[in-house]
């Protein structure tokens, strides 16, 4: 298995020394994220999110299925994410790497297990018909911090998506085509966003948010925090890596809280802009 060549000694040394001076290679401040660029596709629920050169495509579709007997009142959500070698040479098809496992699990935790989507509202006819939402995440290119980008793409895709209107008459379910009745947005409890911080071996070096590819490669530990604009933490993930003091963890949470509020505004604005530019034909 050829491992990608790790950054050379001069590169590492230079990055460490520049980070120590709080200078980042792309000119950002240590606690400055790349502004995500959201592009909406022609279909509802088709979102491409770009943070610098990191790009992730998310797509949602819905299907009517019979619910499993143990949860007759809830809709289903499945997330498909696979990091293909397209995203970067270090990803291989077949056995998932640690990064890929982490990405899949985090997406599952942030988007599905955090109760972002009201699953009960996806039920059409108890025990008979529920909506099955399928989110597919395509990682197009990895230039650092793919996790945050994928989470953002996923959550925005859910917010952007609208499912067809349904009507229940007796035991029959009528699905209205989007051209007949306006499709309805999903009912969401909250909007979680994920933020990743990278810590470096030298404890004097300040952590950076939204690490670039190189920063991620030379970092000694990452902490990912998913939370919504209401200050509710959904996921904290710091799997090993350099030990941090409690204060450092809490400081990271504080920063993430502020970033989440700003990001929430941006996402809402972009979604509104897109919705205004969209014509939904209703006869």
């Amino acid at each position: 298995m050829p491992r990608p060549p790790s950054p050379s000694i001069p590169e590492k040394e230079f990055l460490f020394s520049s980070l120590k001076e709080s200078l980042r290679l792309d000119g950002r401040q240590p606690l400055e994220t790349r502004t995500p660029i959201l592009t909406f596709g022609p279909d509802l629920g088709w979102v491409e999110c770009a943070m610098g050169k990191t790009r992730v495509l998310a797509q949602v579709d819905a299907k009517m299925v019979k619910p499993p007997p143990e949860r007759p009142l809830e809709g289903m959500i499945t997330i498909h994410s696979e990091v293909s070698p397209m995203a970067g040479t270090e990803y291989e098809p077949g056995r998932p790497s640690d990064e890929e496992v982490n990405l899949t699990r985090m997406l599952d935790k942030v988007l599905r297990r955090s109760d972002a989507i009201d699953k009960e509202s996806l039920c059409v006819l108890a025990g008979q018909r529920v909506w099955h939402l399928r989110l597919t995440i395509h990682c197009l290119s990895d230039s650092g911090n793919m996790l945050d980008c994928a989470c953002l793409a996923g959550i925005v895709a859910f917010k952007h998506f609208r499912r067809p209107e349904v009507e229940v008459v007796g035991d029959e379910v009528i699905v209205h085509h989007p051209s007949e009745r306006a499709p309805v947005p999903l009912s969401m409890h909250h909007t979680p966003f994920c933020f990743t911080f990278a810590y470096f071996p030298d404890t004097d070096t300040a952590p950076v948010i939204d690490p670039s590819y190189m920063e991620q490669r030379i970092s000694a530990g990452l902490i990912s925090i998913a939370l919504n604009a209401q200050k509710e933490l959904c996921v904290i993930q710091k799997a090993g890596g350099v030990p941090l003091s409690e204060e450092q963890v809490l400081a990271a949470i504080d920063i993430a809280v502020n970033k989440a509020v700003a990001l929430d505004k941006l996402v809402t604005k972009r979604l509104e802009e897109d919705w205004k530019g969209r014509k939904v034909e209703v006869r």
């Binding site: 060549p5 790790s6 950054p7 050379s8 000694i9 001069p10 590169e11 590492k12 040394e13 230079f14 990055l15 020394s17 520049s18 001076e21 200078l23 980042r24 290679l25 792309d26 000119g27």
Partner: protein
């Protein structure tokens, strides 16, 4: 000379008694009398002043080694008496321990895994591993080749490093007028730069990235303006 853009499969009317074809051109014989020269990649068609040498200058990112080109590489492993060096090509290159100025069996430079090198491709054959050397084979003088210490390595497209090697290109002189800098440009899309101050290196790196035709393709005026926004 006006540049002609060319697409793969187009016929090139290159004629010379002593014709030499460079990358991107293929001689294609349909029958004995009629030999055609066609292009195999997209880019700018270039030829030497006397029309004897023709080649296509494209902009790719993957480096294909060619003899006598200088490259910047990273040592990835020791192997035998030499080192295996990543130069961004399909296969790792081999650098012999004796291919340095003044190197003997006993006195070899001590390169660590992860060291940066400025070297010249001495052998590039499609069926063999590329080989590197860190001296001039005739004179056995280093001539600037060898280990690169400190500084930083910037990655760019192959077109960008050809531009940087062009003495008429504006970027390096412009940066040099602002602060002292050292640079070693490899033809494999890697540029090693060094300067006293961290922020200067960052500025160089960002300028190269924004001038890169693959990225922003910024022009001279744009760089002037860009440098103004940086704190240097």
């Amino acid at each position: 000379m006006a540049t002609t853009f060319i697409l793969p499969g187009e016929r090139v009317r290159a004629q010379h008694v002593n014709l030499k074809l460079g990358p991107g051109l293929l001689q294609h014989a349909e029958n004995d009398q009629d030999t055609k020269i066609i292009s195999t990649k997209a880019g700018e068609l270039q030829h030497s002043a006397n029309n004897s040498k023709w080649w296509i200058e494209g902009n790719s990112k993957r480096y294909i080694p060619a003899p006598q080109e200088s490259v910047v590489g990273v040592v990835t492993a020791r192997s035998g008496d030499g080192w295996r060096v990543d130069i961004g090509s399909a296969h790792p290159a081999y650098l012999d321990g004796l291919a340095f100025e003044g190197a003997t069996k006993r006195n070899k430079p001590n390169l660590k895994v992860g060291s940066l090198l400025y070297a010249r491709v001495s052998l590039a054959h499609k069926d063999m591993e590329p080989e590197l050397e860190c001296f001039d084979a005739q004179t056995h003088k280093a001539e600037g080749f060898g280990e690169l210490k400190g500084g930083f390595m910037v990655r760019c497209s192959l077109k960008m490093c050809r531009l940087l090697l062009n003495p008429n290109h504006f970027l390096l002189p412009l940066l040099g007028s602002r602060f002292p800098l050292e640079a070693a440009t490899g033809l494999n899309g890697r540029v090693w730069v060094s300067s006293k101050e961290t922020k200067h290196i960052i500025a160089i790196s960002r300028c190269i990235e924004s001038v890169d035709p693959d990225g922003g393709g910024m022009d001279e005026a744009g760089v002037h303006q860009f440098l103004g926004t940086l704190d240097i």
